[in-house]
């Protein structure tokens, strides 16, 4: 996924190894040992608390359900079920939802990131900090406050009425619009960061050169800035679309639980239908789909940008 970066670092490493191979054998041993420990500790931890659970899910996905229990088997029925009729349609609808919501997030976030990247260093830190502070308050409380702002007789209704943008009571809650507002609200900071990081790295002289060669501001943006920010866009898509595939809180709190999405259907298999094998098969299918999409995305955009401070 980040092949280019690895190729770069691997040449460095090779030369590094040659240097230290200059005669101090014990140093190489400790050298290796430290590096191996640094790699082994995360691997063991994640094997225990991440890979092993995924393995259990895969094993369960071939089992048979006994209403709240699992009998091991090697059946593909769960997969057949998970891809059939309603669930298949939900799968497609959720992918479309995630794609459009993610696109909306990027459309809102891009100008903000662009604005941030063009500030002077000092003010940039402050502005970026302002974007991130909301992240430190409870997500659920923010969504509930949003719910009250958007409700009948809420603040938004009064403001819109005062500004002559709307008249009468506002009935926006329990609709797809409210879900999209909530989604953009929840994911905006996490969308801005990767975009900001790549935009910040585009060398100013490059843009000036484009302008000097006669390109308009708009053309420079479309042909220079936008293509160069592709890795950032890819990372933003990754960070927003993937969690959206499992999203279930916002549709419930702001969308009246209508237009069921995959996240809800998946957790319903565990919490409602008590059909763990079917839920596991759905989870495995979701993972495969995401892996395919991410790989394709990485190809198209030539890697992901760093998610960093």
């Amino acid at each position: 996924m980040s092949d280019r970066l690895q190729d770069l670092t691997s040449t460095n490493t090779a030369s590094g190894d040659n240097l230290s191979a200059g005669g101090r054998v014990p140093s190489i041993v400790t050298h290796r040992l430290t590096d191996h420990v640094l790699a082994a500790v995360p691997t063991i931890w994640l094997a225990l608390f991440f890979l092993a659970p995924l393995g259990v899910t895969v094993a369960f996905s071939f089992g048979r359900s006994t209403f709240g229990g699992v009998v091991f088997d090697l059946t593909l029925d769960n997969y057949r079920n998970a891809l059939s009729g309603f669930y298949g349609a939900t799968f497609v609808r959720t992918l479309l939802f995630a794609a459009s919501a993610s696109a909306l997030c990027i459309a809102v976030a891009y100008p903000v990131a662009y604005f941030l990247a063009r500030r002077t260093r000092r003010r940039r830190g402050l502005a970026a900090g302002l974007i991130l502070v909301p992240y430190f308050s409870s997500f659920l409380i923010r969504v509930m406050a949003l719910h009250m702002l958007l409700s009948r007789d809420g603040l938004v209704e009064h403001v819109l009425n005062t500004l002559w943008l709307h008249s009468g009571p506002l009935d926006i809650l329990d609709s797809q619009t409210a879900v999209f507002i909530g989604i953009v609200y929840a994911y905006l900071p996490i969308t801005i960061v990767p975009l900001y990081v790549v935009l910040d790295r585009i060398p100013q002289p490059l843009l000036e050169a484009s302008r000097d060669l006669g390109a308009s501001r708009f053309k420079t943006f479309v042909f220079v800035t936008l293509p160069l920010s592709r890795p950032g866009i890819a990372t933003s898509v990754l960070l927003t679309a993937v969690p959206m595939l499992g999203e279930m809180v916002i549709p419930r709190l702001l969308g009246g639980s209508k237009g069921v999405l995959l996240g809800q259907v998946l957790s319903a298999q565990y919490l409602q239908s008590q059909n763990y094998p079917l839920g596991s098969a759905m989870a495995v299918l979701i993972l495969i789909t995401i892996a395919l999409i991410v790989t394709a995305l990485a190809r198209v955009t030539k890697g992901f940008s760093e998610v960093g401070p």
Binding site: G69, F86, K258, V260, Q274
Partner: protein, 370 residues
């Protein structure tokens, strides 16, 4: 910190590990795995963990109990019986003492071995409403003691609906009206949305086959486009007109009518639901004595009366109706209205063969509304 000790001394369930390793077709039945979770060893005295519906005990009662015994019950909440079952049926459910399942799920919970058999000698059942004892979902009250009961009905704005709602047919018709469509709330429980359609076809929701359930669900699915919400009903939304027609229980309806007196409540025919929520003690409860002590406390008639006024549902105590005085606003509504006909009420009982049809259809109905 006893949890930590348990964590390190992880006991591997041999049967399940073999099943995992072998994974041969139908090798090891793991059906029991989710059931036999160990009781938490935090059995220190002076603790009580209750798993309940949200806002189901008044703060006054809990404070009075804490004052009397020095134990403040810790309450965790769930939003559906299915969630209660799933949690109790997993290791995350070990450690609950008292749970409050509805009549519909008692048999399933007991069948899975998740509920303890009750010792009636430690509880005073004489003061309870005898009509609510020994019901068919738990003969002899082996596992459960009734807490309170409620109904499936409709709260609506008669102006918007343009008349009275007497049957579920009226309900579905009213929802299609231009100024009602898009302001309807349906239940998030499969049998409560499909039940009315089944009753209109003269079917019994407990004996309907999966195919009959699916057929009845088609009618509701066609109706779904008029629905605004399936989420839990906030009384404010009915009071302020965001929703003008809602399937709900009498407690929520009473709260909404308290905020906006022009709203009306009805229990439509030909049939509707009577549910009973019950106290039960979890099989692996660590604080059994404390649990009985708490149950004896809340089953006292004067506490039951207090609770009734707070939660808006009638507690299962004998002669309650006379005790709820005129000073309680809309007291009749607590009992489902003046002219409630109990012969037209039926209780749902979960059947593993058909429950999936209800739940699946509910998902499809909610999807069709989006």
């Amino acid at each position: 910190m006893t949890d930590k000790a348990d964590f390190t001394a992880s006991r591997l369930n041999r049967r399940s590990v073999l099943g995992l390793l072998g994974a041969a077709p139908a090798a090891a039945a793991l059906a029991g795995t989710f059931g036999n979770s160990t009781p938490a060893k935090a059995a220190t005295t002076g603790q009580l963990n209750i798993y309940s519906w949200p806002d189901y005990f008044s703060a006054d009662t809990l404070a009075a109990y804490a004052k009397k015994t020095g134990v403040t019950p810790v309450i965790t909440t769930y939003d559906s019986n299915e969630t209660l079952f799933a949690k109790l049926n997993s290791p995350a459910g070990a450690g609950f003492d008292i749970v409050i399942p509805s009549s519909s799920w008692i048999a399933q919970l007991a069948g899975k071995g998740l509920l303890a058999e009750l010792d009636h000698s430690r509880l005073n059942l004489a003061s309870l409403d005898q009509d609510l004892l020994d019901r068919d979902y738990d003969p002899g009250n082996k596992y459960s003691i009734p807490k309170d009961w409620g109904l499936l009905g409709v709260v609506y704005d008669p102006e918007a609906v343009g008349g009275e709602i007497k049957t579920w047919e009226d309900f579905f018709k009213a929802g299609e009206l231009p100024n009602v469509s898009g302001k309807v709330r349906l239940s998030d429980s499969g049998w409560e949305t499909i039940g009315p359609a089944l009753w209109l076809e003269g079917k019994n929701w407990n004996t309907a086959t999966s195919d009959e359930i699916k057929a009845a669900a088609e009618r509701v699915k066609a109706f779904a486009k008029h629905v605004k919400s399936f989420s839990s009903l906030d009384p404010n939304t009915v009071a302020n007109g965001s929703i003008v027609l809602a399937e709900t229980n009498q407690g929520t309806a009473r709260a909404a009518i308290g905020l906006n007196p022009k709203l009306k409540w009805a229990v439509p025919g030909p049939f509707s639901e009577l549910w009973v929520d019950n106290y039960a003690i979890a099989k692996n409860a660590a604080n059994v004595d404390q649990a009985y002590d708490f149950l004896s406390f809340v089953l006292q008639p004067d506490i039951q009366l207090l609770e009734t006024k707070y939660i808006g549902f009638p507690a299962a105590v004998a002669g309650l109706r006379e005790k709820v005085g005129v000073d309680t606003p809309n007291a009749d509504l607590i009992f489902g209205g003046k002219d409630l006909d109990f012969k037209k009420l039926t209780s749902f009982v979960v059947n593993p063969d058909t429950i999936d049809a209800y739940l699946q259809a509910q998902n499809e109905i909610q999807a069709a509304a989006g």
